[in-house]
Subunit: 374 residues, 2 copies
Amino acid sequence: MFNFNLLHKDVKTESRAGILTVNGVSVETPVFMPVATQGAVRGLTIDNLNQCQAKILLANTYHLNIYPGSSLVKKHNGIGKFMGWDYLTLTDSGGFQVFSLPNKKITDDGVEFRYEINGEKVFLTPQSSIAIQEELGADIIMCFDECVEYPAEKNYVKKAVERTLNWARVCKDSHSKKDQFLFGIVQGGVYEDLRKYCADKIVDIGFDGYAIGGVSVGEGHDLLKKVVDDTAKYLPDDKPRYLMGVGLPEDIIEAVERGVDMFDCVIPTRFGRSGTLFTKKGKVRITNKDYRRDMYPIDTSCDCFVCKKFTRAYIHHLFRVNEVLGATLCSIHNLRFYTSMMSNMRDSILNDRFKDFKKDFYDNYNPKTNNETT
Amino acid sequence: MFNFNLLHKDVKTESRAGILTVNGVSVETPVFMPVATQGAVRGLTIDNLNQCQAKILLANTYHLNIYPGSSLVKKHNGIGKFMGWDYLTLTDSGGFQVFSLPNKKITDDGVEFRYEINGEKVFLTPQSSIAIQEELGADIIMCFDECVEYPAEKNYVKKAVERTLNWARVCKDSHSKKDQFLFGIVQGGVYEDLRKYCADKIVDIGFDGYAIGGVSVGEGHDLLKKVVDDTAKYLPDDKPRYLMGVGLPEDIIEAVERGVDMFDCVIPTRFGRSGTLFTKKGKVRITNKDYRRDMYPIDTSCDCFVCKKFTRAYIHHLFRVNEVLGATLCSIHNLRFYTSMMSNMRDSILNDRFKDFKKDFYDNYNPKTNNETT
């Protein structure tokens, strides 16, 4: 079963607070989904994810279809069971990875490419993407779409939109599992008219939720805001909206303000593994020598167990001696920074104070901050 | 405060069950201590260690004195607080690492060497080892001793025994912190008369506990048993006995049978990181292709959360895609294998059935087993 309950819209912005309930598990929105690319959020146990208060994970069809293969995941009754995860899962279609590959061959039926890791030749189609995602068994699955790089000629983007629409119809027709819910994806690059066109048509086809795709491809913060502006307004109020692969805290805040409900991104875990930490004041590089004897927690205002238990000096030490626990602890802190930011936004929306949240956030947070070098 | 309560000796063997209480924390013996070399058990959070039911950790003076340095650990009120660990800690003296170095210069006062990682020249003495260990602040600390390689000429071993005894007196005199408890170490190589001589003298000096040192230096399983036989009988019943750096399950079982109470070793975590798992039936290499589609847990009789949650196929997959979570999960399982083995031994001792435990263990466990290649 799938239900999206839009509890409240902020009076001064487009931001929304809701509850997404899928197969008996409820998730408060706006929500951030950590990325478990190959069936694990790198270096984190399920308990760690629970400590981060994550409730829904994204896994990658492209990667899982290589190793361990979708049939093995099916044998485990789906990706959630495979990785020991009790809450919700979402798989992407594989499209984003495939369209990032060199030497792919795109036709109206699908995309031919070779897996980078083993050279195997594959022809991925909307039908096969759905078939694989049905074997992977996530609660939410995504249409196979054509994700266009940035910048791209409008003529090409238009062609990709038509393919995306055709493939969306095929995906909907191919999809049969009743306990999986299919989201449509709006493409259209940075072109307002194409975004509107694609959104209208995708909504006509009708899906359980709608994603804004074709972002996080190098368009930058300002164009990202424009794309969300140009797309969200054409999506129905009563379905969840998912901005794929975004992003930095400032990107997410702007998108929530514009009415997006769901996000995924590798940033908190990837940055964490290299020792870049998100704090209320901005990003810090814990490997910087300033922290060698620093007795404070990473972020004095954070409630994660890393901030409760450890000094910056300890975390700095772990990186200095190349101890992998440092990467784990920083990933946990960063994920909690994200989930906490989401729930603070949600509270502000429910109180019609999203603008106050945003002002307060930026009054403290410096996006270019501190000793950050990432 | 320090108390060792010897609850029971098995009627048919020398094996002992007790309770070691230090600074208000009680630990059941025989006990296995995971190794937190540089202030972390590699890849494991404190919660993971609690899941493994560990109660006392060993940390290495040699490594901690390089990074982060003992003064920073002191600033944190000791190694336990530094690493967020609520139970007991023990530091070694640095001797084992130093005597493994090339180009060291041993005198009657101490050892001159260079730190391998940064080339810094150091002169480590019994006084300085104790001073460093007092800053590191572990509950139990060790005398600085001369650990001799195997094989070694008896004349040299005798000289090392005399140094070890002189240094033990210096260590005892140098030690002043009332909340840290000092163990003496018996050396003597594989020579029964030297072991007896050293044990008698060390006991005369008088310590809170006694360690059997100079093992795990290549002497092998049978000589290890002989050394424990030749030493344990000269140690007082009412103090804990610690066999340093040992070992494989079969080594530990033999040593418990001979009256040893405490153990530390990197084997469970090091083997875990490379995908070698301990099970009731013996060691298995989870990276072996046999496990690619294996739906069983690592060990069907194990109560660890890894065995409760995951299939061998999932763990195999994590190693195949080079996901560090695989190393973490296997370390957790292996540590739980060890702590569970210790508590099973303890139960058998309390019931005068250690021999039954041992027979049962070996009836199932093949030390050379399966697809093991480590």
